[in-house]
């Protein structure tokens, strides 16, 4: 089952002891602070989890996949995520265990 904001709020209620309202607000605030930092051009480094970074992409040629028509993909700033070594190892070891 996919993990959602509602699941995270339940965990904060159960494990941290926040009330339901606070738990929901805390989850929302957690992601909002990350969005705001990135919006301001500041990368986010969450040790043990990973880093959210910004990349400036220049314009490049693209194509409408339906019509085949050529249209330029405009220059833009995008977010990239780099998992920490810890998270990569955790995912890798869990997978190795299933073999």
């Amino acid at each position: 089952m996919t993990l959602t904001k509602a699941d995270l709020a339940d965990l904060l209620f159960e494990q941290v002891g926040l009330n339901k309202r606070e738990a929901k607000d805390m989850v929302e605030a957690f992601f909002e602070e990350i969005r705001t930092s990135l919006e301001d051009g500041d990368s986010v480094k969450l040790s043990g989890f990973g880093n959210f970074e910004l990349r400036q992409k220049s314009e490049r040629p693209g194509r409408n996949p339906k019509t085949g028509e050529e249209i330029p993909i405009t220059a833009r700033r995008v977010v990239t995520f780099h998992a920490s070594q810890k998270l990569k190892t955790q995912v890798d070891e869990a997978y190795a265990g299933t073999n």
Binding site: T2, L3, L12, E22, R35, L87, V91
Partner: protein
């Protein structure tokens, strides 16, 4: 922004909570997300983005020091796709 700066910002948003609660909240959220990915499952945060695993097939690599060929086994790596709101807010054009 680092994890401790994030904790400080959240603590400031919730003056009724002690800093320890903000700290434990951040740890709880990040641990839950890591555990979910380690279980091979997805995370979907509306307005922020989704995390999933990408498959990397086995390949023949090279030890960069010695030049000898080594078999690199298949693996799964975490992948993030930004959601609509995050994408739009970050994409300032000048």
């Amino acid at each position: 922004m680092t994890k401790s700066e994030l904790i400080a910002k959240l603590a400031a948003r919730f003056p009724q909570l002690v800093v320890k609660d903000a700290e434990l909240s951040v740890k709880t959220v990040l641990d839950a997300m890591s555990d979910k990915l380690a279980a091979g499952e997805r995370i979907e945060i509306r307005g922020f983005g989704s995390f999933s695993l990408n498959y990397r097939p086995p390949r023949l690599g090279r030890n960069p020091k010695t030049g000898t060929k080594v078999q690199v086994p298949e693996k799964y790596v975490p992948h993030f796709k930004a959601g609509k709101e995050l994408r739009e807010r970050v994409d300032v054009r000048d």
